[in-house]
Symmetry: C2
Subunit: 252 residues, 2 copies
DNA sequence: GGCCGCCAAACTGCATGCAATTCAGGCGCT
DNA sequence: AGCGCCTGAATTGCATGCAGTTTGGCGGCC
């Protein structure tokens, strides 16, 4: 008597799926910032399962790129580099163009209603947290992907959208969601109208503008490893103070 | 003293990675046909690890779509439906167009040599098994993806290429690799020449032809669940013989 | 005072054990 | 003989335990 879903997805095996979904959501809502530690026991304790399960969940999330898993080290929320973020957006653009291409002119009335309702929800959440707006905006895209009825496409779009979310929380400024909402409405309209070329280019420019709003400069201000950030300063900035290097050259 | 790699990938944690790679290879070389059972302890025994590790590896492969994991049931090699195969190819086309777009005119001499060497290897393996040719052909595409230096892109192209491999073994006839090899050479040439549009359209038609060679008719001859195959016959084909239905309606 | 090395606590890597579920074959019934 | 139920073997789901590695903090030394 599984409540719902219980689909064919690997992770919905039960407890693992619950943990994955919870963590995913926490991550994209920035309750867990990039770099946050995720010790297995803490997770297990929090969700009432053993480390085995928590570990498995972390493995899944690592496969999705939301979590970084280093051997013998505490798992942390992934911290994508600027380049990775750029790559993710590039891929996302192609995938979502495919989505809307498949969807143009083929939406049912119910689907259109669902989409409009979602955008209304985005609208309603404008005074809420940035985190919630970002999540809703992301979910809009996932919703679109789901309407293609292609599980593979859904999975890839979801993954890459989550990754983009992550980078948004790293590199983006306070975030202005208004334009995004309007762009969403425009995409729906073009989808209904059935103009493939139009909706593809709309989606392209929409994602492009989101990316550009986020990835203005290739300067990971808060990002990365602290060592990488300070590397350029290490050569000449001796007047300040020297940074202690724990060992020698890092492998990468 | 990890031999090599040990990269940032989740699965290279060691033993899990070994098992994943081995199974992946076995699957795409059709040593393990779709539907083949993968019991945890057999795997564990075979690779000299405990069920825990084997289980984890199966989880990773399931996340990649190569393995189907049903609760309380033995894991099996995935058996993509015809539609899923079609979707995979659609996605693959977009992703690989992105790959060659990024690569056009930017290949180093060493990379070009690597690619040519690989195609030569494909050529040399023409009298070998079909399985090996298919694997080599797939690896050519993965090689290309790796040259983009975009880990995300590599992962997605790899995954989707493996999935396509899987469907090839399901729906394809004996396979003729010659044309594919020539098409690979053509792609290399266009990449070197640096003609973005040309190489994108080449890649598109290459993958399209591979897909069409494989997915001629939406008729999963060997595929699926035996029940699904017989479903269309169940209505009118009583003159033959009736298939025993184990229970009642399957959930899906 | 600052730096280095050592040690205990924390955490992961992995195997094993037990309960729950599925699967397959045999038995009895019709 | 055919069909279905029922029981035991096989297999998964999950927790726990032990060994090895990392972490960070304390004391000693310069």
């Amino acid at each position: 008597m599984a409540p719902r879903s219980a689909g064919k997805n690997a992770e919905s095996s039960d407890k693992v799926g619950v943990i994955c979904r919870a963590l995913r959501r926490a991550i994209i809502e920035q309750a867990l910032e990039p770099g946050a530690k995720l010790p297995e026991d803490s997770l297990g304790e929090r969700f009432g399962v053993s480390r085995t399960i928590a570990r498995h969940a972390l493995g899944q999330l690592a496969a999705e790129g939301l979590v970084e898993l280093r051997r013998n080290r505490i798992a942390v929320v992934a911290t994508p580099s600027w380049q990775e973020a750029r790559d993710a957006f590039d891929i996302r653009i192609e995938l979502e163009r495919l989505v809307v291409r498949q969807l143009a002119g083929k939406l049912t009335k119910a689907q259109i209603a669902t989409l409009n309702a979602h955008v209304d929800a985005e609208d309603g959440a404008r005074d809420g947290t940035d985190a919630v707006s970002i999540r809703l905006a992301t979910e809009f895209h996932i919703l679109l992907a789901q309407m293609t009825n292609s599980p593979i496409l859904v999975r890839y779009v979801s993954e890459v959208a989550y990754r983009c979310c992550l980078t948004l929380s790293l590199y983006s400024r306070p975030h202005s969601s208004e334009c995004a909402i309007n762009e969403h409405r425009g995409i729906i309209a073009a989808l209904v109208k059935g103009d493939e070329a139009k909706v593809m280019s709309l989606m392209h420019s929409h994602l492009d503008s989101v990316a550009n709003r986020a990835l203005v400069a290739p300067a990971p201000q808060r990002g990365r490893d602290l060592l990488d950030i300070l590397a350029p300063y290490a050569d000449e900035g001796e007047s300040e103070r020297v940074v202690k290097m724990p060992k020698v050259a890092r492998v990468r």
